[in-house]
Symmetry: C2
């Protein structure tokens, strides 16, 4: 069974993302949270420890628990492996699948995914929208030996959720490279921008906790709408 | 006294940054390291634990300790609070101080540094060069109540080193926002780029471990030379 403090932490995390506490920029007091969740002070403290270490809040001695500055539109957490649906409340994000196909890997993909040339690769290209505006082009290459099945319906939602909750795989760590380049005409059109405008690029290799690389992806963000943040 | 494993970890870290192990992309075996450092197997293991958790290397069961992909030119660790001199070996980095002055904070700086309007601020603008090529424009705003003194000589070196080793302050955490924008004509000239070329921007608020913000800075990287990376 999930420990109580984890349930409390997850619930508060969800509420923070949904901007429930944005007016005060502060969480309710320990006493108030104890009443809401019907748990002990110790459980509340452990839940808040989790939120602190995940960078959502910070404590100020004697005055409470405050939200860090990042939970409003236009910020994507670079540290976060769970994708856009975790950064923004789900009802604000829409997805269009441009392509989903099973392909043979190029040499670059073989190197990034550390797979054999015979491995089949799911290629997914999606456009993500926030409040109806295009904010991201995402191209992902999944090793089919690890991600055994994908379809259009899954790609319309959170692939991360599918991987962890349905395939029950343990995602371990990711290497990310952030860069910027000039947009091609085609990509600029997807993002409602002009050719040669800057794009904010995130290139990721994501690994299972056993060290196996399963996803190589390139995300191109709309520079007028999205900033990335990093907390440490 | 510094524990032995810390000395070993720091020495190996320095060597990795100086690319000593770039040919093999692999550290020497435990046995070899025991001989080199004249320490126990346990000390070597603890040192490697440190390198793993700092994202320098990863272990592969039965075959050794491998370098992660990031330690070559053109990558700056976003997680790193220690500045460029930690990302590249010191002899490759040169610095030009464009301006150093004591100013009154604007409203934005008052908000970012959470200071009073009467606080004096050290404003530092520097250009950083890697192998003689301009790679970064850095503008920093230091709260003088915390960073009590700065001069040109200090700014020509590692300000981070001065803060931690001379002022003996404990740097705690940082909020960073990564974005991209079109370069102004003036900034483009500093970076040997064209007006409206993309710049890769890092905006930082850096805090002491007691939660006091002491530095607000904007770093603009040359998009042709620098990528940022993030390991988690």
């Amino acid at each position: 069974m999930q420990p109580k403090y984890e349930f409390v932490a997850k619930t508060l995390e969800k509420e923070i993302i949904e901007r429930k506490y944005n007016d005060d920029k502060k969480l309710p007091t320990e006493e108030e949270l104890m009443k809401v969740f019907q748990v002990s002070k110790n459980t509340i403290r452990k839940a808040i420890d989790v939120l602190v270490s995940n960078g959502y809040v910070y404590r100020v001695q004697g005055s409470g628990v405050f939200l860090r500055d990042f939970f409003y539109n236009g910020f994507v957490n670079v540290m976060n492996m769970t994708g856009l649906t975790k950064n923004f409340s789900a009802d604000k994000i829409a997805t269009k699948v441009i392509e989903l196909s099973l392909i043979d890997p190029t040499e670059k993909k073989i190197e990034k995914l550390n797979c054999s040339p015979e491995t089949k690769i799911y290629y997914v290209k999606r456009i993500r929208y926030l409040d109806g505006e295009p904010i991201e082009i995402e191209e992902s290459y999944y090793n089919k030996d690890v991600i055994c099945y994908l379809n259009n319906e899954i790609c319309l939602g959170s692939i991360f959720k599918y991987i962890t909750e349905d395939l029950k795989l343990n995602i371990g760590f990711a290497n990310r490279v952030i860069s910027t380049e000039k947009l091609s005409k085609e990509d600029a059109e997807f993002l409602n921008l002009e050719e040669n405008d800057p794009s904010l690029n995130l290139e990721n290799v994501v690994y299972l906790s056993n060290g196996k690389a399963f996803d190589y992806s390139i995300e191109k963000y709309n520079y007028l709408k999205i900033k990335l943040y990093n907390i440490n």
